[in-house]
């Protein structure tokens, strides 16, 4: 008997269906009565876990700490060469998932593959392809920045010659011979990033890379991440800074209370949630005529007024029409703003209770 979680395409309700391999089951959504069907794969071994084209494959990952279910059968696949954003509220299970991917903690259940290599059976091969920036960046405090990097270079079997240039590249040229114990949070973060990219790994796993960085540092880090992608690396990056994720990620995964609630491109997620742009118009004078004109337009689904402020939710294609009809109805537009649906809206919708 196989089990599969199915998300209703129209209302996003998730239900679990059971069936035998090869069997097609009819599904009716208990929430909106939408009807569909799902065919279980004939051979369970053809399950996506054998997907060798993925850089990172996580299948049915489950991890419980004492009684806390930190990650609950999470499945997702990260394609080679993409920047993959990992989002979720505090305590959602991001760090736990990342640590499991690296073999730092043993999951109760699940399979993890790095470029097709199982992390638990061929640990060294899997890990040799990864550069990791932990959430809590730590070094050997009694050693200098350079001594630290040299130690890791030896472990990674890359030339120690790369250490000094790396420190320069990450803005630590003045701190080369400073003991890491005396580093500020931002300096530690930079040094952590230098350690992660050492030896040009094909996969980068970054747990909140911009935490503790100044605004310039945040931009710098983002550029570095994009640069690594251009050089062919796959990047898994967790962050709470949605603007940053929106700007650089090809796809995102949203995890909430240990469960994966969405994996997709950001614009697709917006469409799936029927998120609409919002037009905010400040008028000189609000009239009944303007309101009527806008309300009767096609593809406008919500109109709201506060004083002389008019807020309209509509399809992207109707934006121009809204403005035109306001003008035609005699409205004098003082100011205009269009708010496109953002990752923040997506995030809020997927992580609400």
């Amino acid at each position: 008997m196989l089990e599969k979680k199915i998300r209703c395409p129209s209302c996003d309700f998730v239900q679990t269906v059971n069936g035998e391999p090869g069997q097609t089951v009819k599904i009716t959504c208990p929430s909106c009565n939408n009807v569909g069907a799902f065919q279980f794969p004939k051979d369970p071994s053809l399950h996506p876990s054998d997907d060798t084209s993925s850089a990172i494959s996580v299948v049915e990952l489950t991890k419980t700490f004492e009684s806390v279910s930190a990650v609950d059968s999470a499945t997702f696949h990260i394609k080679k060469g993409e920047i993959f954003g990992f989002l979720g509220p505090n305590g959602a299970g991001k760090t736990t998932t990342i640590k499991a991917i690296l073999g730092l903690l043993y999951p109760d259940k699940g399979e993890i593959r790095i470029n097709g290599t199982n992390i638990f059976t061929d640990e060294k091969k899997a890990k040799s392809q990864i550069g990791y920036l932990p959430e809590k960046v730590a070094f050997y405090d009694n050693l200098t920045a350079l001594q630290n990097l040299m130690f890791y270079a030896e472990i990674k079997q890359v030339s120690k010659q790369c250490c000094q240039p790396l420190l320069n590249e990450f803005g630590l040229a003045d701190a080369v011979d400073k003991k890491v114990g005396a580093f500020s949070k931002g300096m530690l973060q930079r040094l952590g990033m230098a350690r992660a990219v050492m030896g040009d790994p094909s996969i980068l796993i970054l747990d909140e890379p911009s935490s503790g960085l100044d605004p310039r540092g945040v931009v710098f880090m983002r550029e570095k991440i994009k640069h690594m992608q251009q050089r062919g690396a796959t990047v898994l990056v967790s962050s709470h800074i949605l603007g940053e994720i929106q700007e650089m990620c090809d796809r995102v995964c949203i995890i909430n209370k240990g469960k994966i609630v969405a994996v997709d491109r950001i614009d697709n997620l917006g469409t799936r949630l029927h998120l609409r742009p919002k037009i905010v118009i400040l008028l000189e004078k609000m009239t009944e005529k303007i309101l009527k004109a806008v309300e009767k337009l096609k593809d406008v689904d919500h109109v709201e007024t506060t004083g002389t402020l008019l807020e309209v939710n509509c399809l992207a294609s109707a934006k121009a029409n809204v403005i035109l009809s306001v003008v035609k109805a005699g409205g004098n537009i003082m100011n205009l703003q269009i708010r496109e649906p953002s990752l923040e809206d997506v995030f809020m919708r997927f992580t609400e209770d």
Partner: protein, 281 residues
């Protein structure tokens, strides 16, 4: 030595531990303590009659080193693993292409190497000074004492790594380390006495000898095995060894004592690995 051996993760981890102990001068301090102690006991132990020979020096030192070597071994390693996990550097280290077993063995070899070096050099320097001042020199006895001390040190380094792999913070690991020291140096003797009193007529046992099983249990304690190993090989020790005023049973042998010490090292490391391997970092 070929290049790939020097770049093996085990060797790199061991080297790091050794370098740390050179940097913080621990290795120098311990070497100094071992040398000074030996010289002091040799010179002043005879109550004003000058240098004693090596055998008598060892006999004078036994009571002290039996306490000292275990506590130094335990203190060297109790934080080696749990400390790195607590600080966070372990998750970075283990994200590199190396295995947990390599980290554990590397730390054991590095810390064991530091303690062995201090013992060999500290006792060695003292041995040379003493030899230059006394007429009769038995190098063989002294070498056995040195090697036995190194083995005892390695047992307690292995035990400290066991404590370090088992607990989730430094302070509890240190608690276990201190308990182990108390257990093997003090509590063990009390237990052995209790066992004797409950199971036999102690008065007659002291005059006519203990049963073999009692001797067998006694040398499970690595410190007893160490003491016996030295006393079996160093004449003056067996004659002055107060606890062993009675003769050793026939089945006591140097090989058996060395085997017991090796087993302690191996078993401690295996159990340490079992804990470390399963840990969430």
């Amino acid at each position: 030595m070929n290049i790939s051996f020097l770049h093996h993760p085990i060797v790199l981890i061991a080297k790091k531990e050794i370098m740390d102990n050179i940097r913080n001068k621990w290795i120098l301090l311990m070497t100094g303590i071992f040398a000074a102690l030996t010289l002091l006991i040799s010179y002043f132990g005879s109550l004003g009659q000058g240098w004693q020979d090596l055998g008598l020096t060892i006999a004078g030192m036994m009571a002290l080193v039996q306490y000292l070597i275990p506590i130094i071994g335990l203190m060297l390693g109790y934080a080696a693993i749990v400390g790195e996990i607590e600080r966070g550097s372990m998750s970075a280290l283990l994200s590199f292409p190396l295995k947990r077993i390599e980290v554990l063995i590397g730390k054991f070899l590095g810390l064991g190497g530091v303690l062995s070096f201090s013992l060999l050099v500290g006792f060695g320097i003292a041995g040379i000074v003493i030899s230059a001042n006394v007429s009769e020199v038995d190098i063989g006895q002294y070498l056995i004492f040195l090697l036995a001390s190194v083995l005892l040190g390695l047992v307690f380094v292995a035990l400290s790594l066991l404590a370090s792999s088992f607990f989730h913070n430094r302070s509890t690991a240190m608690g276990l380390a201190i308990f182990l020291w108390f257990f093997f140096t003090m509590i063990w003797g009390i237990i052995m006495l209790g066992v004797a009193m409950l199971s036999m007529d102690v008065e007659t046992a002291f005059t006519s000898g203990f049963p073999d099983w009692y001797y067998a249990i006694n040398i499970i304690n690595p410190i007893s095995a160490y003491g016996t190993l030295v006393s079996l090989n160093v004449g003056p020790v067996s004659s002055s060894f107060t606890e062993q005023a009675f003769s050793n049973p026939a089945f006591y042998s140097s090989e058996l004592m060395a085997t017991i010490l090796f087993l302690w090292i191996a078993i401690s490391l295996i159990i340490a690995y079992i804990f470390f391997k399963k840990r969430d970092i």
